[in-house]
C-alpha cells in the first residue's frame, strides 16, 4: 500500500473534526453521516492494511514518509510513520472501535444540543490516537500524546454543565501532565544519551539499532542512564494508562458520555500507554522492566479490589479497566511482550463491548426514569437495576460474552491473552524468585477478583428481581445502531476471532503470527524469557482456570443465589475497615487532596501573598516610601531638627549670655546661616581628616 495512503489516517478524522466544528452545526443531526463515512473509510484502509500485513508478513519494515519538522542545523526533529504489525493492528483497533462508537453515538447522543460538536471531538480524538499509533519517534508520539489528552479533556467535560464533569476533565488532564513531565524528561535523556553515543535520534528503530550496536560498550553509568530514561518515559504510560499512583483520573473520567468511555477510557487512549511501552520495550533495561512490572502488579490487584464494592456500573468497569491495564503493563514488565500487546487488543474489544453494553443499560434506565419524571434516581447505580436480561436480551447476551472474556473463560479472547500474561509472571518468579512472588500472586489474585466482580455486575444488573419495578416496566432494548456494535464486539470477544482456531486452549493464530515475541537490546535475554513462559504455560492455565471458576462461583453464591448475606459480610469486613477501604478507593483521592492539593494551593496563595502583598507592596514600594520619608525627614531635620533644636539650642545658649538682648527677628534666617556654618565646618573637618 502506498505510504501516502496512511496520511489519510490523520487527514480523514481531522477533516471530520474541522467539518463538524465549522459547518456541522448548520447541517444539524445529519452531519454525522460525514463523520461516519470518514471513519468508515479509515476503517476500511486499516483493515486492508492489516490483511496485507497478514498475507505478506515480514519482520522487515520501513519507517517512512519522513518529514523534517524542526531543523536548527545540528538539532533536528523529524516526524515519520512507523508501519509494522503493531501499528497495523492498533490502527484497526482504533478505527474499528471509533467507527462503532460513532455509530452507537448517533443514537445515544440523539437530542444533545451539542451533537455535532461531539462528533467533531470524536474525530479529533481519532486523529490524535492514530497519530500516536503511527509515530515512529518519541517526540511525535509525545505531540499526539498530548493531543489525545486534549480530546479526552474535551470529551470528559462534554457535559460541562455538570460540575463533576468539569472537575473530572481537569483532573484527567492534569494527572496526565504529571506523567507527561516524566515522559518529556525521559525523551530528553534519551536524546542526549544517543547524542553522546554519536548519533542523536529519537526514533524507536533508531534507538534500538543504536543500542544494539553499542550495548557491549556500555558502562554501568550508561546502563543507569538508560534505565532512568526508560522509567521516565514509562511515567507517561503511568499517566495515560492510569497506573498506580496516577490511576485517580480514570474512574472520574466516567463523567463523560458512555460511548466516549468505551472508546477513549477503555479501548484505545488508555491503552496508548501500553502501546508506548511496547514501542520502547526493546530499550527498557531489566531494572526498568522491574519497575514496570511492579507498577502493573500493584495496579492490577489494587484496582480489582476497589471494583468489588462499587455500586455505579460504570465505576466497576472503570476500575476493571485500570486493573486490566495493570495486567498489560505487568506483562511487559515481566518480558511477556506478545502477551501484553495481545491483551491490549483483546481487552479493547471486550471492554469496549462492556462499556457500550453498560451504556445501553444506562440509556434504557435514563429513558425509563425520564419517562417517570424521576430525576433523583441515579441511572448508573446497579442497586436500582436487576432482572433486565428479559427486557434487553441483546445487551445481556453481548455483555455476558464480554464478561466471560474478561473473566478468562476458555473460548473467549480474554482467556488467551490473560493466560499468557499469567504464564509470564510465573516464569518471572521462576527465574528470579524472592519478592517476585508478588507478581503471580497479584496476577492470579486479580483474576479471581475480576471474575467475581464482573459476575457480580452481571447478576446485579441482569438477574434477580428488579429493584425498581416501575422503572423496570419502562425498560426497552436499544435500537439497532446501538445494538449492532454490541453484537459485533461480542463476536470479537471470542477467542476464535484472534486465532481462527477452534482449540480453546491454543493461542496460536494470525495474531501471534503477526506479533513477534519481542526483542530487547539492553540486557534482557528474550529467548530465556520466552522459554520460561513456555514452561510455565501449563501451570498457569490450570491455575487461571481454577481461579476464574472460584471467582464466578463466589459471585453466583453471593449475588445470584444469595446464599450469603452480602450486607452482613460487608459489615464484618468493615470491622477491619476493609469494606470502606475498598469502597473509598483506598482513600487515594483524599490522600492526594490532603498531602498534595491542599498544601499546594496553600503554597500558591502564600506565594501570591509574598509576591504581591509582601514583596511588591512592602519591599518594592518601600523604596518609594523610603525616599518620601527621607525627603520628609530631610526636610524636617533641616528645619525642625537642625534649625529649631540644634541651632536654636545654640541660639538659646547664646541668648543666655546676652540676657538683655531681645531677639526681635524670627531667628530663622540666623538658623540658615548657622546651618551653613555647621555644614561648612563639618566638611572642613571631614576633609581634613582625609
Amino acid at each position: 500500500m502506498p505510504i501516502s495512503i496512511f496520511t489519510l489516517f490523520l487527514i480523514l478524522p481531522l477533516a471530520s473534526f474541522i467539518f463538524q466544528l465549522s459547518i456541522g452545526k448548520r447541517i444539524g443531526r445529519n452531519s454525522h453521516w460525514v463523520s461516519l463515512s470518514f471513519i468508515f473509510v479509515t476503517l476500511c484502509i486499516a483493515l486492508g492494511n492489516l490483511f496485507s500485513e497478514i498475507s505478506h508478513h515480514s519482520d522487515e519494515h520501513a519507517s517512512n514518509l519522513v518529514f523534517n519538522w524542526i531543523d536548527l542545523g545540528t538539532f533536528k526533529i523529524e516526524h515519520g510513520f512507523q508501519l509494522d504489525s503493531l501499528s497495523a493492528i492498533m490502527l484497526v483497533v482504533v478505527s474499528l472501535v471509533s467507527f462503532l462508537v460513532h455509530l452507537y453515538s448517533t443514537e445515544y447522543m440523539k437530542g444533545d444540543p451539542r451533537y455535532t460538536r461531539y462528533f467533531g471531538f470524536l474525530g479529533l480524538f481519532t486523529f490524535s490516537m492514530n497519530g500516536i499509533v503511527l509515530a515512529d519517534n518519541l517526540i511525535m508520539m509525545y505531540v499526539f500524546w498530548e493531543l489525545v489528552g486534549l480530546s479526552s479533556y474535551l470529551l470528559i467535560g462534554f457535559w460541562f454543565e455538570k460540575d463533576s464533569a468539569a472537575n473530572a476533565s481537569k483532573k484527567a488532564f492534569l494527572t496526565n501532565r504529571v506523567g507527561d513531565i516524566g515522559m518529556f524528561l525521559g525523551i530528553m535523556t534519551i536524546y542526549f544519551f544517543t547524542a553522546s553515543l554519536g548519533s542523536a535520534t529519537l526514533s524507536f528503530d533508531g534507538i534500538t539499532a543504536l543500542f544494539q550496536s553499542s550495548f557491549s560498550s556500555f558502562t554501568p553509568a550508561d546502563i543507569t542512564i538508560v534505565t532512568i530514561a526508560g522509567v521516565l518515559i514509562f511515567c507517561g504510560a503511568i499517566g495515560k494508562s492510569a497506573q498506580f499512583p496516577l490511576n485517580i483520573w480514570l474512574p472520574d473520567a466516567m463523567e463523560g458520555p458512555t460511548p466516549v468511555s468505551a472508546l477513549i477510557h477503555a479501548a484505545t487512549m488508555v491503552a496508548a500507554g501500553v502501546y508506548m511501552t511496547v514501542r520502547i520495550f526493546p530499550f527498557l533495561t531489566p531494572q526498568a522492566l522491574e519497575v514496570v512490572a511492579v507498577v502493573g502488579a500493584v495496579t492490577a490487584f489494587g484496582a480489582a479490589i476497589i471494583a468489588i464494592t462499587q455500586k455505579d456500573i460504570k465505576k466497576v468497569l472503570a476500575y476493571s479497566t485500570v486493573s486490566q491495564l495493570g495486567y498489560m503493563v505487568m506483562a511487559l514488565g515481566v518480558g511477556a511482550y506478545q502477551a501484553g500487546f495481545f491483551h491490549l487488543t483483546t481487552h479493547a474489544m471486550f471492554k469496549a463491548c462492556l462499556f457500550l453494553c453498560s451504556g445501553s443499560v444506562i440509556h434504557a434506565m435514563h429513558h425509563a426514569l425520564h419517562h417517570l419524571n424521576d430525576h433523583k434516581t441515579d441511572p448508573q447505580d446497579m442497586s436500582n437495576m436487576g432482572g433486565m436480561r428479559n427486557k434487553m436480551p441483546i445487551t445481556y447476551a453481548s455483555m455476558l460474552i464480554a464478561t466471560l472474556a474478561i473473566a478468562g473463560v476458555p473460548l473467549f479472547s480474554g482467556f488467551l491473552s490473560k493466560d499468557m500474561i499469567l504464564a509470564g509472571t510465573l516464569a518471572y518468579y521462576h527465574a528470579h524468585h524472592g519478592w517476585t512472588i508478588i507478581l503471580p500472586i497479584a496476577g492470579f489474585g486479580a483474576a479471581v477478583i475480576t471474575a467475581f466482580y464482573m459476575f457480580r455486575l452481571i447478576y446485579l444488573t441482569f438477574h434477580g428481581e428488579p429493584a425498581r419495578k416501575d422503572v423496570y416496566d419502562q425498560i426497552h432494548e436499544s435500537p439497532l445502531p446501538m445494538a449492532f456494535p454490541l453484537m459485533l464486539l461480542a463476536g470479537l470477544s471470542l477467542a476464535f476471532s484472534f486465532t481462527f482456531n477452534l482449540n480453546p486452549m491454543d493461542s496460536h493464530g494470525w495474531f501471534t503470527h503477526l506479533i513477534s515475541e519481542g526483542i530487547n537490546v539492553v540486557g534482557l535475554n528474550m529467548s530465556q524469557v520466552i522459554d520460561g513462559i513456555h514452561h510455565a504455560h501449563h501451570d498457569a492455565m490450570i491455575i487461571s482456570l481454577t481461579v476464574a471458576g472460584i471467582g464466578i462461583g463466589l459471585a453466583a453464591i453471593f449475588y445470584l443465589y444469595k446464599l450469603v448475606n452480602v450486607e452482613k459480610l460487608a459489615g464484618v469486613l468493615n470491622f477491619f475497615g476493609l469494606y470502606n477501604l475498598s469502597y473509598n478507593k483506598f482513600y487515594i483521592d483524599e490522600i492526594y487532596d490532603a498531602i498534595l492539593y491542599r498544601p499546594f494551593m496553600w503554597f500558591c496563595n502564600l506565594f501570591s501573598w509574598i509576591d504581591w502583598d509582601l514583596y511588591d507592596q512592602k519591599f518594592i514600594d518601600f523604596w518609594g516610601w523610603f525616599t518620601l520619608k527621607i525627603s520628609d525627614g530631610a526636610g524636617y531635620s533641616d528645619y525642625n531638627w537642625l534649625d529649631q533644636k540644634l541651632v536654636d539650642g545654640f541660639g538659646k545658649i547664646t541668648n543666655k549670655f546676652g540676657q538683655g538682648l531681645k531677639v526681635t527677628q524670627s531667628g530663622i534666617i540666623q538658623n540658615y546661616l548657622l546651618g551653613g556654618v555647621i555644614g561648612f565646618v563639618t566638611i572642613f573637618i571631614i576633609f581634613k581628616a582625609f
Partner: protein, 487 residues
C-alpha cells in the same frame, strides 16, 4: 593691555552700564517711561551682538584685571539670552504689573553687569566686585513685590545669607592674598606652586579652597549653602525666580571653574587633570555634587508648590553640573557648558509655563494644575516635553545634556560611584517632575473651560520648547560650537 585700548574690548559691559543710566533717565519723563522695555530689549540685543562678536578673542585687559576669552564670552551669551527672555516674560507676567518698572529694569541690568564681571575677572578684587554687584541688585529684585510678605522675607533671607557667604569668601580671598601676596589669579597660582612651605603642608590651601567655595557655592546653591534657595525662589516674583535659576547659577559655575582651574590645578589652565599640590579637591567637589543633587531631588519630592519644586530641581541640576566639574578635563567643561545651554531652555520654559498658570489661574500649588492638559493641550504638551527634558529622557535635549555630563565622568574613569548616584537621582527626579505631569494629564479637570496664555508667553514657551526637542535629536551643531571654544 593697558586701560585705554582695553575699552574696546569692554563695550558689552559699557552698553549695560549705559542701559542702566538710560533707564533711570527715561523714568524722569512719564511719556518716555513706556519705552523703557523696548529700549532695554534692544540694548540687551546689542550687548548680545557685541558679545557674540568677541568670540575667539583671547585678551587680558585692564592690566590683567579682566579677561575676554571664549570661555567668558560663552557665559555672557547665556546671561544675555536669559535676560532677554526674562525681560519679555516680565512684560507678560501679572505678578509684576504693579511694580515700578524702571527700577526693575535697572536692577536687572545691574545684575547682568555683575554677572558679566564675575566670569571675566582674573583678579580676586574684581571677582568680589562682580559678585557683590550681582548680589546686591539680586537682593532687591527678590523683594520686588513690596506688598508681599513672602517676597520681603525672601529678600531679607537672601541678603543675610548672601552677605554671610560673601563674607566667608572674602576672608578666603584675604587668606590667599596672605599666602601669595597678590590678588591676580595667575600670580597666586605661581606663588602657591613655588611655595616650599605649602609643599610640606597643604592645609592652608584647603582652608582657602573651602572658603572660596562658600561664596561660589551659595551662588549655585550647592549643599550646604542651598538653604536660601527654596524660600527665595518661592517668595520672589516668578520671572525673577526663573532668572535666578539660570543666570547667577551659570555665573557661579563659570567663576567656580575659572577659580578652581586657574588657581588649583597643576598647570593653572583648563584641562589639567592634576589638582595642585595633591590637594584632593576634586573628590571634595564630587561629594558635594552628590550631596547637592541628592538633597535637591529628595527634598523636591515632598513639595507641593510648583515654584518650590522647580527651586529644588534647580539645586539638583546644579548638582549634576558640579558632578562633571569634579573631573578635571576639557570634555567636562564642555559638558557643563553644553548642559547650561540646554538647561537654560528647558528650565526657563518650565518657569514660563508656571508664569502662564499663575497669570491665568492664580495658582502655584500643584493642586491647581489639575486637568490642565485638557484646558490648554498645546501648552501642557510642551510643558510635558520640558519636564521630560528636565528629567533627562530621550528624545529631548535634557537627555543629551546628561549623557555628556555622565560621559565626562566615565571618560575620566574616576568617580564611578558618583555616576551611580547621579543616575539614581535621575530616577528619583522622575517622580516629582511627573507629579506635575500626572496632575496635568492624568487627573480630570474640574471644569471644561479652556485657557490660553498671552501671545508673548506662548511664544516664549514655544521658543524654549523647540530647542529642547531639536537639540535632543540633532545637537552636533551646538556641540561643534562649544567644541571650538579655546581654553
Amino acid at each position: 593691555m593697558t586701560n585705554l585700548p582695553s575699552i574696546s574690548y569692554f563695550i558689552p559691559e559699557l552698553i549695560v552700564i549705559g542701559l542702566i543710566l538710560t533707564t533711570i533717565c527715561l523714568d524722569f519723563s512719564s511719556k518716555l517711561r513706556k519705552h523703557i522695555l523696548p529700549v532695554n530689549i534692544l540694548g540687551v540685543l546689542f550687548v548680545g551682538l557685541f558679545v557674540w562678536d568677541s568670540f575667539g578673542i583671547n585678551q587680558n585687559i585692564f592690566s590683567h584685571l579682566y579677561i575676554i576669552d571664549s570661555f567668558s564670552t560663552f557665559f555672557k551669551l547665556i546671561f544675555v539670552s536669559t535676560t532677554l527672555l526674562i525681560l519679555i516674560a516680565s512684560s507678560a507676567s501679572k505678578e509684576l504689573d504693579d511694580i515700578g518698572h524702571p527700577e526693575y529694569y535697572t536692577l536687572m541690568m545691574t545684575v547682568l553687569l555683575g554677572l558679566m564681571i564675575m566670569v571675566s575677572s582674573t583678579n580676586l578684587i574684581m571677582i568680589y566686585i562682580g559678585i557683590e554687584t550681582a548680589s546686591l541688585a539680586s537682593y532687591v529684585l527678590a523683594g520686588m513685590k513690596k506688598g508681599n510678605k513672602a517676597s520681603n522675607e525672601a529678600s531679607l533671607k537672601y541678603v543675610i545669607f548672601g552677605s554671610f557667604a560673601s563674607g566667608i569668601m572674602l576672608y578666603g580671598m584675604s587668606w590667599l592674598y596672605g599666602l601669595a601676596g597678590s590678588t591676580d589669579l595667575y600670580q597666586i597660582h605661581e606663588s602657591i606652586l613655588n611655595s616650599s612651605a605649602l609643599l610640606e603642608d597643604n592645609f592652608m590651601i584647603y582652608v582657602a579652597i573651602l572658603m572660596l567655595l562658600a561664596g561660589v557655592g551659595y551662588k549655585i546653591s550647592m549643599v550646604p549653602f542651598h538653604y536660601w534657595t527654596p524660600d527665595v525662589y518661592e517668595g520672589a516674583p516668578t520671572p525673577i525666580t526663573a532668572f535666578f535659576s539660570i543666570a547667577p547659577k551659570a555665573a557661579g559655575l563659570g567663576l567656580f571653574l575659572r577659580i578652581m582651574y586657574s588657581l588649583f590645578s597643576e598647570s593653572g589652565g583648563f584641562a589639567d587633570p592634576n589638582p595642585i599640590l595633591h590637594v584632593d579637591w576634586p573628590f571634595l567637589i564630587a561629594v558635594l555634587a552628590a550631596g547637592t543633587m541628592t538633597i535637591g531631588n529628595v527634598l523636591a519630592i515632598q513639595q507641593n508648590n510648583v515654584k518650590r519644586i522647580l527651586a529644588y530641581s534647580s539645586i539638583a541640576h546644579a548638582g549634576y553640573m558640579l558632578m562633571s566639574a569634579s573631573i578635571l578635563s576639557v570634555s567636562a567643561i564642555k559638558a557643563i557648558m553644553f548642559y547650561l545651554v540646554i538647561y537654560l531652555f528647558m528650565n526657563l520654559g518650565a518657569f514660563f509655563y508656571a508664569i502662564f498658570i499663575s497669570n491665568k489661574c492664580g495658582v502655584e500649588d500643584i493642586e491647581g494644575y489639575k486637568g490642565l492638559g485638557y484646558k490648554s493641550p498645546l501648552m501642557a504638551s510642551l510643558m510635558v516635553l520640558l519636564l521630560v527634558s528636565l528629567t533627562g529622557l530621550p528624545p529631548t535635549a535634557g537627555f543629551i545634556g546628561k549623557v555628556y555630563l555622565f560621559s565626562a565622568l566615565i571618560e575620566a574613569k574616576t568617580f564611578y560611584w558618583l555616576a551611580v548616584v547621579g543616575i539614581l537621582n535621575s530616577v528619583v527626579s522622575l517622580f516629582y517632575y511627573f507629579k506635575i505631569v500626572k496632575v496635568m494629564w492624568l487627573d480630570e479637570p474640574k471644569d471644561d473651560s479652556k485657557i490660553t496664555p498671552k501671545p508673548a508667553l506662548s511664544i516664549l514657551i514655544i521658543v524654549c520648547s523647540i530647542p529642547t526637542l531639536v537639540l535632543g535629536l540633532k545637537w552636533d551643531f551646538l556641540f561643534e560650537f562649544i567644541d571650538k571654544i579655546k581654553f
